[in-house]
């Protein structure tokens, strides 16, 4: 019967151990989970030098490791190590949040998507930058706005982005057409060209309409270029308007009519780029990166046959959503002095230029858009400048993930109806969205 007794002893041990654990687990409640650093931000030490990590997705051009090496050679008392993150933006964000929560002191500088700014700032994942050290003159206003939250700069703008209209110059020239400035002109151009070419595979236009962040970008552009807003200047949602409905309705109707190919309901950036490069689209909304690839890709049949123009509008002028990534200093970074130096280095004119030459990402310093080397390599730079200068940010919200999902829910439903050949009810969809946004953005 010995085993009975020892069994009981084991049980007692197990119970007391789990009680201990419970106590340990509950102990954390008193100290909070400590993500927010509170409103009365204590003085941050921006002088401490030492090694830091740069948390960023992998850079294929190989330029980033080179820049880091260059920084390290000039900066002996604090070295930067490249910490590679997964390709997926969602997972990058997730890793950054998790490592903020475990107060990882090594996470020094993070590459922050413009749409994360409000959340990361409000929840104290990143620290506001000392204004005296980070002047914003010479930077694109929209890029600076994208890195600002409650009048404080939380990141130093390093790359920006805006949407462009890629068009088949060869086809437009053939039919004596000019690049369209409105959706109506675009449709007229398509009708003429498709009639003349008699090619059933030639689609008219497409952007990014899969249910993901790209849909929010395209929805916002449609709404703004129809004279509407998603969130007004006062920070209040105002999307249940006839203007906004016109924007969404236009996209859904284009799906229904087949002017936007049905398959585009599953497209992200790359699907559209490949369709455009395969000569299956006359017009295509995409970011600046496509220009270089469509000129050089082996599979591209449109090399030298396309050009870019500002995005067309629906009732008003075309408007782009603002993209881009900026570098910010993580709240728990141990050596913020090195982080400060690294941020300045990465946004310097010379580094931005080298980065743009290597990756075709759009710089944030205005004067680089007229830099002769850059314009020579990327002739679309002046157009891109216009696009970014007129770009509107996506809604600023602390719970941006909820906001963007609500937008995608409404927009995707309407576009799906269009892709199924039905007439979408954009007005109803946006009324639902307005209700939801009002609970999310206060």
């Amino acid at each position: 019967m010995r085993f009975v007794r020892s069994g009981r002893r084991a049980a007692v041990a197990a119970v007391s151990l789990s009680a201990l654990l419970l106590a340990a687990a509950c102990g954390s409640s008193s100290s909070g989970t400590g993500s927010g650093t509170g409103s009365s931000a204590p003085a941050v030490d921006f002088t401490k030098q030492g090694d830091i990590e740069l948390w960023n997705g992998k850079d294929v051009s190989g330029n980033l490791p080179k820049l880091i090496a260059q920084f390290n050679s000039q900066h002996p008392n604090g070295q930067v190590k490249f910490h590679e993150l997964p390709d997926s933006a969602d997972q990058q964000r997730q890793q950054m949040i998790q490592n903020t929560q475990i107060k990882n002191p090594a996470m020094g500088v993070i590459s922050m998507d413009v749409v994360w700014t409000s959340e990361f700032a409000a929840k104290g994942y990143v620290v506001p930058l000392p204004t005296d050290q980070f002047p914003t003159t010479g930077f694109l206003q929209s890029a600076v706005a994208g890195a600002t939250y409650f009048n404080k700069l939380y990141a130093y703008p390093s790359t920006s982005d805006g949407g462009l209209l890629y068009y088949r110059k060869d086809l437009l020239d053939k039919y004596n057409l000019k690049p369209p400035t409105t959706f109506d002109e675009m449709k007229a151009a398509c009708d003429t060209i498709r009639k003349g070419e008699n090619d059933s595979k030639l689609g008219c236009f497409a952007g990014q309409y899969n249910k993901y962040e790209g849909l929010t970008v395209n929805f916002d552009e449609a709404v703004h270029s129809a004279g509407g807003v998603t969130v007004g200047d006062d920070g209040k949602p105002n999307v249940a308007t006839p203007e906004a409905a016109k924007g969404l309705q236009t996209l859904a109707d284009w799906f229904k009519n087949g002017d936007i190919p049905k398959a585009a309901i599953t497209w992200q950036e790359e699907n559209g780029r490949q369709a455009f490069e395969a000569g299956q689209l006359i017009f295509h909304r995409n970011w600046g990166y496509v220009y270089n690839l469509a000129q050089t890709d082996k599979a591209s049949v449109v090399k030298g046959k396309f050009d870019v123009a500002p995005l067309p509008g629906i009732t008003g002028p075309g408007v782009s959503s603002l993209g881009g990534h900026n570098f910010a200093i993580a709240a728990n970074a141990e050596n913020k002095g090195t982080a400060v130096d690294f941020l300045k280095f990465m946004s310097s004119e010379e580094v931005q230029k080298s980065n743009t030459l290597a990756t075709s990402a759009s710089p944030t310093l205005e004067k680089l858009y007229t830099d002769s080397d850059l314009v020579k390599k990327f002739p679309f730079m002046p157009t891109q400048l216009k696009s970014i200068q007129g770009a509107v940010p996506r809604p600023k919200a602390v719970e941006y993930g909820d906001v963007t999902l609500a937008i995608q829910d409404a927009a995707y439903g309407a576009l799906q109806a269009g892709a199924n050949g039905q007439t979408a009810d954009a007005t109803a969809a946006l009324q639902g969205l307005q209700t939801k946004l009002q609970t999310l953005i206060k």
């Binding site: 010995r2 085993f3 009975v4 020892s6 069994g7 084991a10 197990a14 151990l17 789990s18 654990l21 419970l22 687990a25 509950c26 409640s29 909070g32 989970t33 400590g34 993500s35 927010g36 650093t37 509170g38 409103s39 969602d90 964000r93 997730q94 949040i97 409000s118 700032a121 409000a122 929840k123 104290g124 939250y149 409650f150 899969n210 249910k211 993901y212 049905k262 398959a263 309901i265 599953t266 497209w267 699907n271 602390v398 719970e399 993930g401 909820d402 999902l405 995608q408 829910d409 995707y412 439903g413 799906q416 892709a419 206060k442």
Partner: protein
Amino acid sequence: MATATAEPRSAAAVAPDGHKHKKNALSDGQGRLAWILLAPTLLVILVVAGIPVIMSIRESFFQTNDGVDPVTGMVAGGEKFVGLGNFTAIFAGQNPVTGSWGTIDRFWNAFWNTTAITVVCIILETILGVAMALIMAKAFKGRGIVRAGILVPWAIPTIVSALMWKLIFDADGIMNRVLGNQVLWLADTGASFWAIVIADTWKTAPFIGLLTLAGLQTIPAEVYEAAKVDGATTWQQFVRITLPLVRPTLVVAVLFRTLDTLRMFDLPYGMIGAGKYRVETLSIFSYLEATQTRYGPAAAYAIVLFIYVLLVAFVFVKLLGADVIGDTGMPKKKKGKKKAGDAAAPGLEMVGGAH
């Protein structure tokens, strides 16, 4: 020895109750030995599952303070105790979404998706898996290659196979080219559900096949040969010998597949994407809530899922009598054992009859 493998096993099956006394007579202090042998496993489970689960249960009674200070724009942070608030919210239906089940609360939408995917996948996987095992158990030449071959789907990492299926199910992909029709598999339509079912069945039917095959291999060939001599048809052999004898292994395989499928995450997430309500499972929903730093509700959903899985497993074991649980004192178990004994008996008689 060769024959010993066959004969006593039948004997054991016939007289299951004979063992206990003998085992007790053979060795003393079994309880202590048993706990020593179980200690490593239980320790690992306590550290890796026990502690996090206790923390999650605690978390499920809290909510993150998400109010934004209107002056500074800062979120207060920290947590507040909400009691069962996160659980009662599940039934309040505050978050309706539109998926395959009409416009219902997002939690319940995910719940029914999870259930539907599991039921359909498990049925298909079991049928396919058992068929695979039977064929592989039959054929002798080339079995090794086939066995390695069926490992292919199982061996490909899900983060890769999800992308592979994404390519196959692309709007302009090979599947649509073969079908000659542009089905929008990835567009959160009814077809998305079936795309998941196809991809998951493909990946995991081999799992059931493999485990079942291993079970089949422990059935002595003599039993079949005797049955054949007795003139049993293939179907009779399958129902009266194969199925009962392979049942314990098969039940474990199917049970674990069910538990896995109920927690399915990476396939729909990687292949169709986040926020696609026709394929959003409870695991995905819980994960997405956690990524929005709403850890309390996320933990509550995970706990509800846990209870659901536990119930399913319990019913499963009760109904199919996973004999593995063995002498636990549950009355149902004995019944299960007897059945296995009855089923094995004809084999024995037939062997006897061959004399």
